[in-house]
């Protein structure tokens, strides 16, 4: 069977700097792949190249065997591939519910049927369930901007799941989230993964989080893959330790 | 050929004025994101300060000093403290509206307090016409060119060669960092407003003998300043100067050789072209955007 996501020989330069250097990896159906690495090791750039926010200078990205390099983010998203961003990216002036509906609506019918169709594009229920699932019910009609950081992080993740994706790329979902919230988030992600058989790729610094969540880990340093394996092996891989401590 | 040179020369003289106005305009934008729709009126008004001073019996030189002082006070300090400061935190648009209202305010004030009629204005230099290569240029235009260029050069030196200037630039490029470096950001911003006021006053003194002093004059000048600033580069002093010259010359050439009814159109087309293909302006730096 083909990999859900296949990245081959991907490179991205900014002027002189090489942010991503000839990276190749595959993501198998249903796994949770963690990508770790010190700051500036090119993790986020890698995501941006995979999802079309940036166009790679070299290499190729395939989703279900279909080449997506050069496609616009919105078209890639329509292949049921969604993501979150490292920095918070919710829509503060929309209510929690609207944020979720928005996240799903573009997958309902065409632009014009949406214009004449129902206000919630028929997603009211799905949004409600998602709100339930992430336990945001009491905030459903608050402006997202009024939520606490951790709550917004939850919403951010929830939005990524709204369109029922089969591949989700999460960029530091745990970043800046306090411990209560962290456990909560991890447990929700696992629950979703179990329930929907979705495939995750997670960038994370918070080691505990990665080790607890991921089935396989990829280590990036200076834009290159320096190690790959189960959380268990990665932990005692000298290259990895060097990469972290060396900096 | 002679006529071509003539066009270039007059174009340069006009362009120098535009440059002066545009420079102040870009300064305000860089340090405080102020898009000043009253910039044209800022140039129109000082002439009337001076006329009033002379009317009250001050000699020309003194009147000029008074005019500059009043400009610094009113269209520099007062503008910054009363209009810009309360709005800064509210983003660009409300401030834009305020400056639009301000321009109406200034026009109407001048019209009501002084006169709706155009006023003659004493020249700095006796208008002697000098001939060369068949082209004529009056000493006035030369003075304009000289003063404008030296003012801009002085500003350039201030910004790049002095400590004060460098801290102003730092403020312009990254206020947060500047603050960390212990630069008194607010005062730096204030300085740019004062400098702008002085530049406007100078421009006013330079052009009024040729353009005459009239309450409505600011409208054309203001737009010209926008065009010059954008074409040259919104975030570069020398860009604005460059833009000013281009604009002045272009206006003359298009009026002479292309179409007089559409003379106003060509600078606009250039503007659009520049924005579409080189948004940072012909000499401008790229403003780095974060994804």
């Amino acid at each position: 069977m083909t990999a859900v996501l296949a990245v081959s020989n991907l490179s991205k330069y900014f002027g002189g700097i090489t942010a991503v250097d000839d990276v190749s990896f595959e993501v198998r159906d249903g796994e949770i792949l963690g990508i770790i690495g010190p700051n500036g090791s090119g993790k986020s750039t890698l995501f941006n190249c995979v999802l079309g926010q940036l166009t790679p200078n070299e290499g190729e990205v395939r989703v279900d065997g279909r080449v997506t390099t050069g496609m616009r983010p919105c078209d890639i998203n329509r292949l049921r591939v969604s993501r979150t961003f490292q920095l918070l990216q919710v829509f503060p002036q929309l209510s929690v519910r609207d944020n979720l509906v928005l996240a799903g609506q573009e997958h309902q019918g065409s632009m014009y049927t949406r214009l004449i169709g129902r206000a919630d594009a028929g997603l009211g229920e799905a949004a409600g369930q998602m709100i339930e699932f992430f336990r945001l019910s009491h905030l459903a009609d608050e402006m997202a901007g009024l939520l606490s950081y951790g709550q917004q992080k939850l919403l951010d993740a929830a939005m990524a799941f709204m369109a029922g994706p089969r591949l989700v790329l999460l960029d530091e979902p745990a970043g800046g989230v306090n411990l209560t919230m962290l456990g909560h988030l991890r447990e929700r992600l696992q629950a979703y993964h179990a329930e929907k058989k979705a495939t995750f790729v997670v960038i994370e610094h918070q080691m505990e989080f990665v080790m607890a969540l991921c089935t396989r880990v990829l280590v990036l340093a200076e834009g290159r893959v320096i190690a790959e394996g189960t959380p268990h092996d990665i932990r005692r891989d000298p290259k990895v330790i060097e990469a972290y401590l060396g900096h | 050929m002679a006529s071509f040179i003539q066009l270039l020369v007059s174009g340069l003289a006009t362009g120098a004025i535009y440059a002066l106005i545009a420079v102040g305009f870009t300064l305000l934008w860089q340090t405080s994101q102020t898009i000043n729709f009253a910039q044209g009126e800022f140039v129109m008004v000082p002439a009337f300060f001076i006329l009033e001073a002379m009317y009250l019996g001050a000699p020309f030189w003194l009147a000029i000093l008074i005019g500059i002082a009043l400009s610094v006070l009113l269209i520099g300090l007062a503008f910054k403290l009363i209009i810009v400061d309360p709005m800064l935190k509210h983003g660009v648009l409300p401030l834009v509206i305020s400056t639009i209202a301000l321009s109406l305010f200034m026009k109407e004030m001048v019209k009501n307090l002084y006169s709706s009629n155009a006023q003659p204005f004493p020249a700095l230099a006796p208008p002697i016409d000098l001939h060369f290569f068949g082209a004529v240029i009056s000493t006035q235009s030369l003075v304009v060119l000289a003063v404008a260029i030296s003012a801009v050069v002085a500003l350039h030196l201030l910004l790049h060669k002095t400590r004060l200037g460098r801290s102003m630039q730092a403020t312009a490029q990254n206020p947060t960092l500047a603050r960390i470096l212990g630069i008194p950001v607010r005062r730096m911003v204030l300085y740019t407003f004062l400098i702008n006021a002085v530049l406007c006053a100078i421009a006013s003194i330079l052009i009024s003998p040729i353009y005459l002093a009239k309450f409505i004059n600011g409208e054309t000048l203001g737009v010209a300043a926008f065009l010059a600033a954008i074409i040259g580069g919104f975030n570069q002093v020398r860009g604005a100067i460059f833009g000013g010259f281009i604009l002045g010359i272009l206006d003359n050439l298009s009026a002479a050789y292309l179409s007089s009814t559409y003379r106003g159109a060509f600078p606009l087309l250039i503007l659009i072209a520049v924005i579409m293909w080189r948004p940072q302006g012909l000499l401008g730096r790229v403003e780095e955007r974060t994804v």
Binding site: R83, L102, L115, L139 | I35, P86, E108
Partner: protein, 326 residues
């Protein structure tokens, strides 16, 4: 909050309907002017307030709409068709003008549209064979709709009010549909919107095209209102005024333009008793307004209502620390 809004709108609507009964022809003419400008500002509010695309071209579109209508009517085309044509012409031109917005934003976009406005003015003034140049176009008839003549101040006021109502309803429908959400997303965070499958390109162009076509339609009412059009009426000044209406009324609030237009039309009128200095006072009041309610009058109203309701009801859960969330 919501109930209050509904009441306010209802009262406002009732007011708009009965107002001509108390006014002399001049007052009614002003009210019609208000309706026309509200339509135009409503279009701009869509482009600027919701989709966040700064445009200084709305006045130009009012002009294009007005000229299209006038020319077609002079050519003997029935008004309804001319009206629709005005909308379509502006829609397509607006669509094209949207392309720069895909490349540049904020003040750059503002200046592109500013340039466009001035170019339109030059064309209207210079192409005499078509637009009548500086002579303008006079003798534009008040339309007759299904045997009902809109001639006479009151009739025409109700006609423009009707157009306003229809267009407002349409706009409202669009804004409550997924499109409205998409426009706001566009304004707040295009990158994230893109990653959620929003075709930001398409929505940006749409925001421009629809906003412009609404501007054109207001022009289609403006022409028979004044019954004479000249290029100067559609120069940069109008665009700046419309921008002022949107911001003063409350950009991004559905009823912002209604209030903004009210201020822009009635305030100067109301100040005329000051004679010579009335525009000065007007300018000052606008500056004060911007300093004290930069989010516009409706923004202020909302703040006040919120403040009151918060005093009454206990603090929102959202404001509590997250730890306490179940």
């Amino acid at each position: 909050m919501k109930r209050l809004a509904v009441i306010a709108v209802a009262v406002g609507a009732a007011f708009a309907i009965v107002v001509p009964l108390f006014l002399k022809p001049y007052g009614i003419y002003l009210s019609s002017t208000w309706a026309v400008l509200t339509i135009a500002a409503m279009g701009l509010n869509l482009t600027l307030g919701y989709a966040g695309q700064v445009s200084l071209a709305q006045g130009a579109f009012v002009g294009i709409g007005a000229y299209t209508t006038a020319l077609l009517m002079h050519a003997g085309v029935p008004y309804p068709i001319a009206f629709i044509a005005a909308g379509l012409v502006c829609f397509s031109i607006g669509w094209v003008l949207g392309y720069p917005a895909l490349r540049v934003q904020h003040h750059y976009l503002a200046f592109v549209t500013l340039a466009f406005t001035t170019l339109v003015f030059l064309v209207l003034r210079n192409e005499e064979w078509l637009t009548g140049g500086t002579y303008g176009l006079s003798g534009i008839p008040r339309p007759v709709l299904f045997g009902w003549s809109t001639n006479g101040p009151v009739r025409f006021y109700y006609f423009s009010l009707g157009v306003l109502t229809v267009l407002a309803t349409g706009t409202w429908w669009m804004l409550r549909s997924p499109w409205g959400r998409a426009f706001i997303a566009l304004r707040e965070n295009p990158i994230r919107a893109l990653s959620l499958g929003l075709d930001t390109r398409r929505y940006t162009l749409m925001a421009f095209a629809i906003g412009s076509s609404i501007g054109g339609l207001s022009g289609a009412v403006f022409a028979p209102l004044v019954q004479y059009i000249e290029p100067l009426s559609f120069a940069l000044n109008l665009s700046l005024n419309l921008l002022l209406m949107v911001i003063v009324g409350g950009s991004g609030y559905f009823f912002g333009p209604f209030i903004g237009a009210l201020v822009a039309v009635l305030l100067p009128e109301w100040l005329r008793f000051i004679e010579g200095y009335y525009l000065v006072f007007y300018a000052v009041m606008v500056m004060v307004m911007m300093a004290f309610c930069p989010t516009g009058i409706l923004g202020l109203v909302e703040r006040i209502v919120k403040a009151v309701s918060v005093k009454r009801s206990p603090p929102q859960p959202a404001l509590q620390p997250e730890g306490t969330s179940p």
